[in-house]
Symmetry: C2
Subunit: 340 residues, 2 copies
DNA sequence: AAACTGAACGCAAACGCTTGCGCAACAACG
DNA sequence: CGTTGTTGCGCAAGCGTTTGCGTTCAGTTT
């Protein structure tokens, strides 16, 4: 049916071993024979069977990527960038979309990547048991987003610094009542919400502003959650004049809530987000920009490097990408008349 | 190192063949032996090698998914849904992100999925040569989005009907100067822009409105393109009082352009989009909603069905998902004073 | 009681490649 | 002109499964 390596060997008048070596650029084949084999292979349309070659060699030329919600902008963008790097290097990517808890459980118990991948890139934070499962694969591991894990090369950003710049911006504009829309950390050691919150507290303290727990609300990192959180903040006795949302999605939800309350941004309330979502510019959202695609690409590159030089020293187990506060139209000095 | 099928066989006191049959639920194994083997396998942590089993059986239990920009909301969402269906059915997915032309060329020339997948789902429209390449794989094929292709099971929506409902809505509101922001079809037989445009023309004609070519602008299906297109429309001698954007991204770009021109939506200009992007609700965009995730899931299901019953008659080569006009806040009757 | 069933299981041959090793052939050396 | 290297290539043994076929054995049939 399909042409196999022995077909090529026969047609080229050599042995299968020579074809194998020739096509993969291994030494032990003269240049002329190599060229001849390449020509024959091309003419026959020969493509090596991956299963056979990985069975024989142990190498799969495949990377496993596990990610939570790939439909969401952040993860989709990271995945997109990582995939480009992998495929440019000749690797295929096996995608595991672990958004739902049972998909996640299914993955970690049956571990379908075993013996199928040369490395895995994780876009989610595995818990200790999951980490152990991944490590048991015996392949290089890398991840994006915060949360240091043993055996992982992780690339992320300085969440503290980013959040500090956002909150400090609000302080510098003269705001004193600054709310925060955060996301619970949940059961996992996903440190981002914690770090961003700490930065918020630090900046308030450094500005001599007393922290008011009533100004914090949980937005669960979704648009709807952000809307609910903002609504809750507006219902307090003294609503904030500015809010720092830990993600752009939540910021957009907050803006929606404000609009529903007939409040204008930034005249009544300033809003600053985090991420620099592709649509942040569209809605004029001031936010702290992080290189999302950049993180995916960088993590992918680091993984490939580990594959190329397995015993090379790993200089940085944790690389931090730059962040930058992007000023747009949703922040302004507090309105002297106060909200509404 | 890792435990193989012979290890399990030895531990269970049976042959490897029996282990293989037992674990895969094949007949020819008594229930007690099967249970015993299952227990031993679980206890040893045995997981069959995919490469070996697919080499031997020809089955890979893997689906290839080729998609253009997986970072974009639409494709990310489709992919997300499809992946869930596949993985729930025990299939892995090999992802090929073919956004850039050379990634695309690379894919279709080296065809890395050959002998690696049991089926392929295409989220892009392959040109004739690419279609031939895919067909040469000899596996079931399915695709989303319009464009009928031989050998493909395709699921999509009725673009004409959707666009008609959007434009008709504007007409019913009383608009007579209705612009359209479209996207060029490009070299591929991507019929969506064509269909949506035809619907626009049809509705205008049916309403007795003369078509003005100056009211059409190309937005390339991106936010920036939509902004440029709207800017161009506003620069004409008689700007439209309403615009139909062929995608929500372009609609958002248009809204941004309008805001920059200090025009308000919908008082000065009405805007209606297409897709029901996850953020359409956030910006209050009136749009025609299509089941994006639904299309991905449905295409995946149809593919699995073909895999299960290879020679079943395929009742519908082309399935159409329902659409629905969602009224929000960006459309209103024309302002009697006219724009600006 | 002989012959015939299935059912349950083992044997061994694929599947298509990779790779350590061996063996020519030939060049370069003392 | 023997020796020692190189270089280029073929042999054959895997890699871990699946599966067609053969064997055994308990349980029907005549």
């Amino acid at each position: 049916m399909t042409v196999s390596i022995t077909d090529v060997a026969r047609a080229a008048g050599v042995s299968a071993s020579t074809v194998s070596r020739a096509l993969r650029g291994r030494p032990g084949v003269s240049e002329e024979v190599r060229a001849q084999i390449a020509a024959v292979a091309a003419q026959l349309g020969y493509i090596a069977s991956r299963s056979a070659s990985s069975l024989a060699s142990g190498r799969t030329y495949t990377i496993g990527v596990v990610a939570p919600y790939i439909g969401r902008w952040f993860f989709g963008t990271v995945l997109d960038a990582a995939e480009q790097v992998f495929s440019a290097a000749g690797y295929d990517v096996l995608l595991y979309n672990l958004g739902s808890p049972d998909a996640r459980k299914r993955f970690f118990t049956s571990l379908p990547v075993r013996k199928r991948v040369d490395a895995v890139l994780s876009l989610l934070i595995p818990d200790p048991a999951e980490t152990a499962a991944l490590r048991s694969l015996g392949v290089p591991l890398a991840g994006t987003v915060g949360g240091a894990r043993d055996g992982f090369t992780v690339v992320g950003i300085d969440d503290r610094a980013g959040a500090e710049s956002a909150v400090r911006h609000l302080v510098n504009l003269g705001h004193r009542r600054i709310g925060m829309i955060s996301g619970a950390s949940g059961p996992l050691q996903w440190t981002t919400p914690i770090d961003r919150r700490q930065a918020y507290l630090d900046v308030l303290a450094e500005a001599g502003i007393e922290h008011d727990p009533a100004l914090e609300a949980d937005g669960g990192y979704t648009v709807e959650g952000g809307e609910r959180a903002m609504t809750a903040l507006l219902a307090t006795s003294r609503p904030p004049t500015a809010v720092f949302a830990q993600s752009d999605e939540m910021a957009m939800g907050a803006m929606r809530a404000l609009r529903r309350h007939r409040l204008t941004v930034p005249d009544d309330v300033s809003v600053v987000g985090f991420d620099d979502h592709e649509l942040a510019e569209v809605v004029g959202l001031t936010t702290v920009s992080q290189p999302v695609a950049g993180q995916g690409a960088e993590a992918a590159r680091l993984l490939l490097r580990q594959l190329d030089e397995p015993d090379a020293e790993r200089p940085a187990d944790k690389v931090r990408m730059p962040i930058r506060l992007v000023l747009r139209e949703t922040t302004a000095p507090p309105n002297p008349r106060g909200p509404q």
